[in-house]
Subunit: 370 residues, 2 copies
């Protein structure tokens, strides 16, 4: 596709400046560290690296904190990334950009940076934040790419809030229809940045992520954007049930639509500031569509329905996902607690029914009984 | 599914009253005629018939105007429908309900009715309306299930407006993610009724169509609901291009989302009364999803992209659709005229690009260049 070509031209056309010089940081330039180096973290680093090179307002060097591992070859993962410019373990075959520097030391990775991109598995965020207290610059801005915050009885525990509270910094979010491997090969995609107050910061994040094949839009609605990223997994399970029952596209579209309405209603009931228009953004309807077309929540739910609920999600997960856990199932359970705690069960038939089917209280076909 | 069973129980449980007695019409009861008997018209008759039997506010008998045909057997289509209770040509294998009376005479089919359901191919509507002038009751209410109005240079020519103007009556619309054959076998689905002023009438239409497997919601937005039904076909062609280019679900979701936003923006620019919330209804996001997952516009567009635009839509249509025409391609052309006429081309990249690809001015891959 033409857009991707353009990017590569820029990358090769621009002279590569020596990373070391970027440590003397004049205040007007921003320095970026990506905290995390999994599949999505590596793709994010690639996007950011191409823009850091291209734009004068950023230092060329992008640090990527890597949880160090020793590869079967005996080499350290960071050494291989820095030598081959590739995350051979989590994003093989994709060049990250020569200006991405893998760093196994969390403190050294963040110390010069004023823009931190959090993209780790959500269960590690709290621990990482605790280690970063007192180790970051005073003017740091953060953004979270982490989907899958926890929904607790009293309401959801937002990852962006967790980061803000532990580090006393502002934290935006970036969510959307973002299958990492498709963005890695520069297939056209979109994302949404959610910000709280500061429009300028939001635009800076948009600049840092936007490429001709990755279109980013900012909306002033952190909660709305972040909730979309979690709640859509519950709807994807409902969509998977419909697939497993072979009810066809009409029914699937109907369940996705009702699910989207429940996502919107739930978000607005918890956070009155949430905007209707956020659900028309990539983080809303587009991410929902991607997740309900592909995605492992949908896939395992389809198998669950095909087995008429006779095989549990745990069993199917173990078999189909090599022990990985489905976010959708646990989110549905947590969501159910919130709904019953607040007396909202009747208002959210799809959310409630997904959990009752998942625990075997109702048959999969109940997903279309209203 | 349980819902469909419920309906059948009702149908068999309720006594069938003799259609002839329903001609002495006390004013408080409504009498319904379905004008049209194709695939969707037959399914609509089935839905209506089950409610006409169940609800005291409607006469049991539902007249269905049938464009008379002689079947290969030599029998008249209307005779076979009235004997077998099945539209053997357009909806074989599905019982319409004993209270559906096929009538080949348009005048006699409508003369006692105060509720007319229009569900013919859109090119026949004008002719039918002309024949109905002076032949209908004074208190008639109409609803149009016809998707695919024409978009003329000065703006779209709405079918509901056409009916209202020719017959001097109020006309609602019913649109949604409605694949007729899936509703015929009572798979769960939804629809949206769009009404202008009178909420009571809208609720009456909702009553008449709603079944446990067909959920209908009313919104005060005729134009928004009706425009969704047409514009979504253009987005489906864009989605088909993405499928043909094998760009994956991310890209497809992004194009569907941008398409939905363009549907919304275009409708609101033409009719300021159009509501944002309408696009969250079945006629909006759900119909878009169904059409972009299945649907012949998507299918032929996929083939067009696979052939890198080397084979024209006319050629592919003839080959794939036995001479049927694609609404999406002609709508895209008409839409393009409106957009260039008003200087809006830059505001609607998906709408504009679909047409420019369809006429060979741009390659299919241009669908993702913004």
């Amino acid at each position: 596709m033409a857009p991707s070509l353009e990017v590569q031209e820029e990358e090769t056309a621009l002279p590569f400046s020596n990373p070391t010089h970027t440590n003397e940081a004049p205040p007007h330039k921003s320095k970026v560290t990506v905290v995390g180096s999994g599949n999505w973290g590596s793709v994010a680093s690639k996007l950011i690296a191409s823009n850091a090179l291209r734009l004068a307002s950023f230092y060329d060097e992008v640090r990527m904190w890597v949880y160090e591992e020793t590869l079967p070859s005996g080499e350290k993962l960071t050494d291989v990334i820095n030598r081959t410019n590739e995350n051979v373990k989590y994003l093989p075959g994709i060049k990250l950009g020569k200006n991405v520097i893998a760093d196994p030391d969390l403190e050294s990775a963040v110390k010069d940076s004023n823009m931190l991109v959090f993209v780790t598995p959500h269960q590690f965020v709290e621990g990482i934040c605790k280690r970063l207290v007192g180790k970051i610059r005073g003017d740091v801005e953060a953004i979270s790419l982490i989907k899958g915050m926890e929904v607790k009885m009293e309401g959801p525990c937002m990852i962006s809030t967790l980061i803000s509270q532990h580090l006393g910094i502002n934290c935006c979010v970036l969510m959307g229809a973002n299958i990492a491997n498709e963005i890695a090969v520069e297939k056209f995609s979109e994302a949404t940045v959610g910000y709280r107050g500061n429009r300028e910061i939001a635009e800076k994040w948009v600049q840092l992520f936007t490429t001709p094949y990755f279109m980013v839009t900012a909306v002033q609605d952190v909660e709305g954007v972040e909730l979309c990223g979690t709640l859509k997994n519950v709807v994807a399970i409902a969509a998977g049930f419909v697939d497993g029952l072979e009810m066809g596209n009409n029914t699937k579209a109907a369940i996705m639509r009702i699910g989207l309405k429940e996502m919107k209603a739930f978000s607005k009931m918890l956070f009155p500031s949430v905007k209707e228009s956020t659900f028309f953004e990539s983080c809303g309807v587009a991410d929902l569509i991607t997740t309900c077309l592909g995605g492992r929540n949908r896939k395992v739910a389809e198998a669950f329905a095909r087995n008429e609920g006779k095989r549990s999600f745990d069993e199917l997960e173990a078999e189909m996902l090599q022990g990985q856990k489905l976010q959708g199932v646990s989110t549905a359970r947590e969501l159910y607690e919130v709904l019953s705690h607040r007396g909202w069960l009747e208002l959210f038939p799809v959310f409630a029914t997904v959990h009752e089917i998942a625990i075997g209280r109702l048959p999969p076909s109940a997903i279309v009984r209203f």
